[in-house]
Subunit: 524 residues, 2 copies
C-alpha cells in the first residue's frame, strides 16, 4: 500500500462499510477498509502510515458551484481591511510594487475604510503616485462604490479628465476593470494553482467552477487549455468540472463546433455542463420575480433572456446532449427556465442529462415539484441563508418566503441537492456552510430562519460530497469512502456527529487527499 | 410523446417517483411520470395510448447470467418429451427434414424416453435412416446419457465402427457434438434473434450472456460481429452485455490485443466482463471444495486452473481494467478465486471495476465477508434452490450448508446481488425465479430450504432489475422507472405486492418495451 490511515473514525457514507477505523490507499484508489489491525497488516516498508489519533474522515468535499479562477484573482488583491492608518496601507502596497512590476500587472488593493484610519482621510492620486508611477495602482473602498487610482491607472482607463483627483465612483469603475490586463496562459495556471492550494486547505477535492467570464467572449478557450495542460502535467491538485458559461447562442454554437461536450475527460479536468445565467441577485433587486418586489414595487427584477432566446440555447444544448446548470434566483427566472427545460425535454428527451438549477432560491411549491417531475438537480448554497434571511421577506413577502429555500421539501421529493459556496461570493470554507445547511441559524445574531427547512447532518454532508459527485456523473468513483473508489478524503479534527451542531463551523480540516495524493496536511 | 401507458400501477423503484399510474415515452426515453390526467395531456395525434387496465409495470427485467446463443441452439432441438409413441416422434422429425436439409444442418431432437412410448422400444439407426439418409439425424434420450444416430450422423462423427447399432453412450456423444457444424454469421444472427424474441416474451430487456463457448477457440470473434451488426442494423430487441468467456491466458491476450475492453459500446450490444470458469457443478461432484464431498469422499471436485494460471489471467485482466465475472460454485474454487482477486486488487487497485462471482453457492461466512471487503458482486440464480435444496447437505454437510446460498446475509453486508437464470440450465422465466428468491420453497413438494435466507420481494425485484443494470455499469440509465432513464419496461398482469408470494410464478408478462420499442405484446 502507498498510504494507510489508522486509528480514526471513518464516515464512509456507504452502508457496505459501516464501521471502520483505517483506510489503505494504493494507486490513488481506496484499496481496503477495515480495522487498524487488518489495514496495518497490508503495510510494507514503503507504506506511509498516518496515525489519525481519533480524528474524523469524510469523503472529500465537493463544492458544486463557485468561480475558481476569479476567486484567485480576488485573492491577489491586497487586503487593506485590517490596516489602521493610511501610511500602513501605503507601506503594504509599496512592498508589493517590485513583484508586480516584474510581471507587468496592476497593483490592486481593496477593503479599506478611511474611518478606520488614524488620519481619517481618503488616499489621493498623489498618495498613490508615491507608491509607483510606472505600475497602475487602484485601491477600492470596502463599500465597493469608490476606487482611487494613481495617474498611470487613470491614464490607462481613460479617466484622466473625468476623475482628475483619482477618485472614481460607481459605474465609472467599470472603465478601470475593462482596462486591467486579462490573464495570459501562464497567469491562468498560476491563478488556478493558487486557488487549488486554497481549496485543498479547505478540505476540497473537487470543484464545479464557472470560469469563462474571466475572459469574456473567448468561449473559455485559454481557460480550457490552462486546465488541460495542468492536468496533463499532473499539476492539478483539485478535480475540476467546468461549468461552461456561454452567454449567447453564437458562443454556444462555437463551443459545440469546437467539439466540446459534457463529460470530456482530461483526468483531473473535465468538461461539465453549459452554464446559463438567467437573472441577477436579490440584494440588487435584479433577481427576476413573477410579481414586483414588495420593497421595490417599481421592479420585478431583470431577466437576462427573452423566452425565445433562452429556449433556443436550451433546446440546442439538449440536442447535443449537454448537461445544463442554469442560474435562477427569482421565481420569474425559474418559471422561464422550467418552461424552456420542460419544452426541450418533452420535445427531445435524452437519457441521463442531469440538468439543474443553480441557486433556486425563490420558488413556489408547484415550481419545486417540477424539479422532481423533470428530474432536475438543485445546486444550493446553504450559507447564503446568513444574509438572505434578513432580506427575503422584505423582497418577496411572507407567503413566497414560506415556500423558498426549502431544502427539507427537496429532500422529501427525492430531488438531488448538491451544495456549494459560489466563491468568492462566499468563502469556500465548507464547515460554516455545512452548519448553515443543518441549523439555518446565524451564530452571531442567534436568529434562525425556517430551521425546519434544514437538512440533517447526514444529508448536508452528502450534499457536499456524494451529491456533488452525482452532479458531475462520477458518483460511481467518488462521493463515498468505498473500496474501489478514488481516495478523495478529508480529515477533520473532530467527529461532527459528536459535537453540538452550532460547533460544526469550528471544526478544522487537518488533511486533504485527492486521488491518493496528500494536497494539504496540518498533522504529523 | 410516442407512447403513453396509463391506468396502471407503476412500480418505479425510485423514491423520487413514488406513486404514479402513467408513463410517457419519447425517443426511447421515459419523458414523464405522473397521473393519467397529467400524462394523457402530453399526448398528440401521433401518440400511441396503451390502457394498462390496472396492470403492474416494473423496470425491465435483466437476466445477469445466461447463455443466450446456446439457449437458442437448444431451442432448435426438436422436443420429443411430450411424444406418446415412437411413430409420433418419427413423424415430428420427418416434418422438419426438408427445412433443415435446405440449410445444410443436422436434425437434432431430444427429451424422449422410450418408456413413455406405447412401443416401449428405443429408436434404431434404421428408424432414423428412414427419416433421412442425407441429413444427419441425432435423437438424445431425456437422461442425456444416450443418443441415437442415423448412418449419416454416425459417418460424420466417425462412429460407424464403434457404434454400428447407432446407439452412442456417455462421453462417446462428444464425437457427435464435435462433428456438428458450427453456426456461421447468418446462423448466429438467426439464433440471437430467436433468443431475443423468447427473452422479450419473458419480459426481459437486457441479458448478460456468456456465449463464446459456442465457437470454441475463436475468442468470440464471429459472435461479436453478429451482435454488432444486429445492433447497428437496429435488429437487436434485447440489450446484450457479453460476458466474454476466455479459457486461457493466450486467448485473453489475443482478445485484449484486438482492443476489446469492458464497456465498449455498440448501442444495444456492449462488451461486458471477462468470464472465467474455475470449477464444475455440484450435481456432478465437479464443484471444487476445500474438503472432500460428504457423499463422495474420494473427491474434492475439480479446479479448472492452478493457482498460478488463474492468478496470471486475473492479474492481466486487472491490469487492463477489465471487469471480471468468475464462476465459482464450490468453496474451494471460491477460495482460490478470492485469493487471486485480492492479490490482483491489492497489488494494482483500480477504480470501479465491479468484479463479481457467478453462482457463489458453497461458502463460509468468512468467505462471504470478502465480497464486502473487496466490493464484489454476487451473481445469484435463486431458482437453483429448487434442485440444490435436495443435494447440498448431502454434498457438503450441515455446517457448510448453513452458511451457503445466504442471500439475506449478502443483503445485510451491502453486497450487490444481481440475479439470473443461467439459461438454458434453467428457463429464463423471471417470475418463478423471483418467487424462489423470496420463498426458497418448492411449490410442488412444499419443501422450504433456509427460508430466512431469502430476499424481500423488493430486494428480489431489484436483483432482477437495478442490480443487473449495476453489474453492467448502466444503473444511471436503466434499472428503475425514472424520468430520463431509458424506457425499458415490463408489464405484468397482476401486482406482485398484492398476491401471496406463492403465486408470483403464476403472474404473466403481457408487454415488454426495450428502449421505447414494444418487443412483446399480449394486450390490446
Amino acid at each position: 500500500m502507498d498510504t494507510i490511515f489508522y486509528n480514526g473514525t471513518i464516515y464512509t457514507q456507504d452502508q457496505a462499510y459501516p464501521a471502520c477505523s483505517a483506510i489503505a490507499v494504493k494507486n490513488g484508489v481506496i484499496a481496503a477498509l477495515g480495522s487498524d489491525q487488518e489495514m496495518l497488516a497490508l503495510a510494507s516498508s514503503r507504506t506511509e502510515r498516518i496515525d489519525l489519533a481519533g480524528r474524523f474522515v469524510v469523503p472529500g468535499f465537493i463544492d458544486s458551484h463557485l468561480h475558481f479562477i476569479y476567486d484567485a484573482m480576488v485573492r491577489r488583491t491586497i487586503d487593506l481591511s485590517e490596516t489602521k492608518s493610511l501610511s500602513e496601507a501605503m507601506e503594504l502596497c509599496r512592498g508589493r510594487v517590485s513583484e508586480i512590476s516584474e510581471k507587468g500587472g496592476w497593483l490592486l488593493a481593496g477593503g479599506f475604510n478611511q474611518d478606520d484610519w488614524i488620519e481619517k482621510t481618503m488616499p489621493t492620486r498623489t498618495d498613490l503616485d508615491a507608491i509607483s508611477e510606472e505600475v497602475p495602482v487602484v485601491l477600492q473602498r470596502a463599500c465597493l462604490h469608490i476606487s482611487v487610482c494613481n495617474t498611470k491607472a487613470l491614464a490607462l482607463s481613460g479617466l484622466l479628465e473625468s476623475c482628475p483627483d483619482g477618485i472614481v465612483r460607481e459605474q465609472m469603475q467599470n472603465a478601470i476593470s475593462e482596462a486591467e490586463p486579462l490573464p495570459d496562459l501562464d497567469e491562468l495556471k498560476e491563478l488556478i494553482q493558487d486557488a487549488a492550494r486554497a481549496a485543498a486547505r479547505a478540505g476540497i477535492t473537487e470543484v464545479h467552477t464557472d470560469d469563462f467570464t474571466v475572459l469574456p467572449g473567448t468561449c473559455g478557450k485559454l481557460i480550457l487549455q490552462a486546465y488541460r495542460e495542468l492536468s496533463e502535467a499532473g499539476k492539478l491538485d483539485v478535480r475540476i468540472y467546468e461549468q461552461c458559461n456561454l452567454e449567447t447562442l453564437p458562443e454556444l454554437k462555437q463551443f459545440l463546433a469546437a467539439g466540446h461536450r459534457t463529460g470530456d475527460d482530461y483526468g483531473f479536468f473535465r468538461i461539465g455542463p453549459l452554464k446559463i445565467i438567467t437573472d441577477g441577485s436579490l440584494g440588487a433587486h435584479t433577481a427576476a420575480m413573477l410579481a414586483p418586489y414588495c420593497n421595490a414595487p417599481e421592479t420585478c427584477g431583470v431577466l437576462n433572456y427573452t423566452d425565445e432566446k433562452l429556449q433556443e440555447m436550451i433546446s440546442l444544448a439538449q440536442e447535443y446532449g449537454m448537461q445544463m446548470a442554469i442560474h435562477c434566483i427569482g421565481d420569474g427566472a425559474l418559471e422561464q427556465t422550467l418552461n424552456a427545460l420542460r419544452r426541450a425535454h418533452y420535445e427531445n428527451p435524452k437519457a441521463n442529462l442531469r440538468h439543474g438549477i443553480v441557486h433556486c432560491q425563490i420558488m413556489s411549491e408547484k415550481q419545486q415539484d417540477w424539479f422532481q417531475k423533470l428530474n432536475l438537480l438543485a445546486y444550493i448554497q446553504p450559507i447564503f441563508v446568513r444574509y438572505d434571511m434578513h432580506i427575503v421577506e422584505d423582497c418577496v413577502g411572507e407567503e413566497l418566503e414560506a415556500t423558498s429555500y426549502n431544502w427539507r421539501r427537496f429532500a422529501e421529493l427525492g430531488v438531488h441537492q448538491c451544495a456549494g459556496s459560489d466563491c468568492p461570493v462566499e468563502k469556500f470554507d465548507i464547515l460554516p456552510n455545512l452548519q448553515y445547511a443543518v441549523t439555518r441559524k446565524d451564530p452571531v445574531s442567534g436568529k434562525t430562519w425556517y430551521p425546519q427547512y434544514g437538512l440533517t447532518l447526514e444529508e448536508a454532508l452528502q450534499a457536499f460530497t456524494y451529491e456533488g459527485a452525482y452532479a458531475g456523473f462520477s458518483e460511481d468513483v467518488r462521493g463515498t469512502i468505498s473500496v474501489g473508489k478514488y481516495a478523495d478524503l478529508t480529515v477533520l479534527d473532530r467527529n461532527l456527529f459528536e459535537i453540538p451542531v452550532e460547533e460544526i463551523s469550528g471544526a478544522k480540516v487537518v488533511l486533504t487527499m485527492t486521488g491518493g495524493k496528500v494536497t494539504y496536511r496540518a498533522i504529523s
